[in-house]
């Protein structure tokens, strides 16, 4: 028991490397924030594209569906490696501008941005499906009422359908965000020193995984309150419909 405890919870190691682990986790947070915001936006765009009306826009719908199917079906690790490998190579051959192939925006290194792109592409696809469920859950009469007032399909989506859909899907979107946050750790394979990579480095130095434990705890400090918030939001929505039934 004591051996177990000393292996995973060596407080002296945790204390010594706390600053490094925290610095790594700060990158994790930044990856999550950039990736999260962009994935939320990209997902919404995809879901709206996939719901465009009329036969002339069928190619757009098909492309959107194909994209969503593909990106949901490929492991994010693979997407990440394809992006990092591909963009870097293309830029070194001058096939694409260096600022895009090896991005250094806001002074953040290129693995960070490869991670953000992979998170956006992958989780955009997941979130598009969540938004779609929300859009489809808005009663048909809402679209009819909006159109009967002379709104175009786009106006009806923007002012009537999407605002209602988003409200309905905030809990599942938050769930996806939690998953996204955990998947930021994949960027460590590019040698990017986010929290997992820091833990791994400390492990190689000390042969003790306590820094990894510390990283796990930092994740939990964020993800558990988020999960509780999801539960609370769902309960709040439910109570609106279940009012009066004991």
């Amino acid at each position: 028991m004591e051996q177990f405890f000393n292996t995973y919870f060596d407080f002296s190691i945790m204390g010594e490397y706390f600053g490094d682990v925290l610095a790594g986790f700060w990158w994790t947070i930044k990856l999550s924030m950039f990736g999260g915001v962009l994935a939320l936006t990209w997902g919404l765009i995809l879901s709206v594209l996939r719901q465009l009306p009329g036969k002339w826009l069928a190619p757009v719908r098909i492309l959107a569906i194909a994209y969503i199917d593909a990106l949901r079906g490929i492991p994010m690790l693979l997407t990440l490696l394809l992006i990092a490998g591909g963009l870097g190579t293309l830029a070194s051959q001058d096939a694409i501008p260096r600022e895009i192939g090896i991005p250094n925006w806001f002074g953040y290194p290129d693995p960070f941005w490869y991670g953000v792109i992979a998170l956006t592409l992958t989780y955009g696809a997941y979130m598009a499906e969540v938004y779609r469920a929300g859009i489809e859950a808005v009663p048909r009469g809402q679209m009819e009422a909006a159109r009967s007032l002379g709104m175009s399909h786009g106006q009806a989506m923007r002012f009537v359908i999407v605002p209602q859909a988003v409200r309905k899907v905030i809990p599942p979107l938050l769930n996806d965000f939690i998953a996204l946050m955990k998947d930021t750790s994949l960027v460590s394979v590019l040698g990017f020193v986010e929290v997992v990579q820091v833990g791994q480095d400390v492990y190689s130095e000390t042969f003790n995984p306590s820094a990894l434990t510390l990283g796990a705890i930092m994740f939990l400090v964020f993800t558990i309150p988020l999960a509780r918030m999801v539960d609370w939001l769902i309960k709040k929505q439910d109570s609106k419909f279940r009012r009066g039934i004991p």
């Binding site: 009663p139 009422a145 009967s148 007032l149 002379g150 002012f159 009537v160 209602q164």
Partner: protein, 248 residues
């Protein structure tokens, strides 16, 4: 009667094998109030929804002020049609994320491009007109069905439509709330609004309607003055329907 606003010629619509509208001819004059009655499945709601292109007809013609808005199987000038024709639904279909005022305001702002202040004033004026000056900032889920339906009427009126379509607007209401909605409609009719009402309120049809149309099986079986159609129907199908509706 005066000029024709809406003219429907040989309108057809079918769902698979079922002919919901089997050739409807129908004209609507300015200021006229037409009540459409008939058993469920007779096509009366579909007719109304086709007039606003919420359902696409399969054939026939619809003209608004002499301009073709549907013909040769295609809608034309859809935006003009929808702007000129207001619609009120059985299930209200208010936007739940907007207050009463927001509901009445949104299309004025986004479709008619009116200034914010003008929209506000018009919304308050209309909500007052339908007797909801107390509920201007209330959200739909905190209003009764009757109040919601009156907001829906105000919302359609805010576009200053030439024609108002009412699709069984009191059918989803508790009995004691029906009168408030019918009073609003009666008021509108008195002010000269052109209206088509699909309804089961025979009293309303008789009192407010200029003309009553009885539909069954996708065709107009009988039409005429309310007293004639409701009081002295000539067709056997009309008699049977009225017998079932009036004697209970």
């Amino acid at each position: 009667m005066s000029e024709t606003i809406l003219k429907v010629t040989d309108l057809q619509k079918s769902y698979g094998q079922l002919d919901v509208l089997a050739g409807i001819d129908f004209e609507l004059a300015k200021g006229e109030v037409v009540c459409v009655i008939g058993p469920s499945g007779s096509g009366k709601s579909t007719l109304l929804r086709c007039m606003n292109m919420l359902e696409l007809p399969d054939g026939g013609r619809i003209e608004l002020h002499g301009n073709e808005v549907f013909g040769e199987g295609k809608p034309k000038n859809l935006d003009v049609l929808r702007r000129e024709v207001g619609m009120v639904f059985q299930q209200f279909n208010l936007f739940p994320h907007m207050s009463a005022k927001g509901n009445v305001k949104i299309a004025q702002e986004k479709v008619r491009n009116r200034k914010k202040k003008a929209c506000d004033e018009r919304s308050i004026e209309l909500l007052t007109e339908v007797g909801l000056e107390e509920k201007i900032d209330e959200y739909p889920d905190r209003m009764s069905g009757g109040q919601q339906q009156r907001v829906a009427i105000a919302r359609a009126l805010a576009m200053d439509p030439e024609v108002m379509l009412f699709d069984e607007v009191t059918s989803a209401l508790d009995p004691e709330l029906v009168k408030g909605v019918l009073d609003v409609m009666r008021n509108l009719a008195d002010k000269g609004m052109t209206m088509v009402c699909v309804t089961h309120e025979m009293g309303f049809a008789r009192e407010v309607g200029d003309r009553v149309i009885f539909m069954d099986g996708g065709v107009i079986v009988e039409e005429g003055k309310p007293d004639d159609v409701l009081g002295n129907p000539q067709q056997e199908r009309t008699q049977r329907f009225l017998g079932l509706v009036l004697e209970h």
